[in-house]
């Protein structure tokens, strides 16, 4: 199946959850906010969120400094 991640198409294993998908892209889980199909998914719910074909993810990551 395909996932649209920040406007790129990325092939993914059927049934993969959000946490594993983000880890496969080496995304730093602690620093990232995720919107899935227009809805915010809180970090605590990522592991139980199963992705489906053509899901659209917007990820915003933060680096330190302020």
């Amino acid at each position: 199946m395909n996932i649209y991640f920040n406007d790129k198409t990325i092939p993914a294993t059927a049934g993969i959850n959000l946490t594993d998908f983000l880890l496969s892209l080496k995304i730093n889980l602690e620093n990232t906010v995720i919107e899935l199909n227009g809805e915010l998914i809180e970090r605590k719910s990522w592991a139980e969120t199963v992705l489906t074909d053509n899901d659209k993810i917007l990820a915003v990551s933060f680096v330190g400094g302020g």
Binding site: N28, E30, N31, T32, V33, E35, E39, L40, E42, R43, L58, V60, S61, F62, V63, G64, G65, G66
Partner: protein, 206 residues
């Protein structure tokens, strides 16, 4: 001579009374009073904002003085108290709420109750994540920052519009660390860009 309203009188050289009233009506929450938060607050107060809520748990320390809006004689003070004193010098009529505590996922809504804009001005990325997650898709305009360390070309510091209520300022990459310290110019530019978005918002032009 009563000089209480000197700043306001000066601002009326640039803004109409109606514009200034719009700016004054806006309550802005500032999460973190470090390099971003203290300088953003200073920019906002100079621009006429009066209603600010500032939250930080830290004390002013010598390494802060390279970029934060504090002075050597304020070392050891809670940042929110030092910032209040400095901002009140600019405008003694501020309606400033300060909270000397750490913002958490649990207390964030209550601390920033009544704010229509929130500035994410934290240092640690996991705290940035927490605050953004808390206010994402809320009615609040959220202005975050990411990537402002070092002294690379400051034109890389851009404003990204994520959605109509969420903007991120910075280059998204320059993290503070060895060889890449937070310095006054880039931190100040990022803070000023955050303040500029809020000014445009208050004037109905964002």
């Amino acid at each position: 001579m009563n000089d209480d309203h000197i700043l306001r009188r000066g601002l009326l050289s640039y803004f109409s009374e109606a514009q200034l009233m719009r700016i004054e009506a806006c309550r802005v929450g500032i999460a973190g009073a470090g390099g971003l938060g203290s300088n953003c607050a200073m920019n906002l107060v100079r621009s006429g904002f009066k209603n600010l809520t500032v939250v930080d748990f830290d004390l002013v320390e010598p390494p802060n003085l390279n970029r934060q809006f504090f002075f050597p004689d304020q070392v050891g003070m809670p940042k929110v108290e030092a910032l209040r004193d400095n901002l009140m010098r600019l405008n003694p009529h501020l309606k400033l709420k300060i909270h000397n505590e750490r913002v958490t996922a649990e207390n964030a809504q209550e601390l920033f109750h009544g704010c229509t804009v929130i500035v994410e001005a934290f240092d640690l990325p996991k705290e940035k994540q927490m605050l953004v997650e808390r206010f994402y898709h809320s009615q609040v305009l959220l202005i975050a920052a990411s990537g402002l360390a070092g002294w690379q070309d400051s034109d890389f510091l851009v404003t990204r519009k994520i959605n109509h209520n969420f903007y991120v300022v910075g280059d998204a990459e320059s993290e503070t660390g060895p060889g890449s310290p937070p310095c006054a110019p880039r931190v100040g530019i990022a803070a000023a860009k955050q303040a500029n978005l809020i000014l445009a918002h208050a004037l109905g032009e964002l």
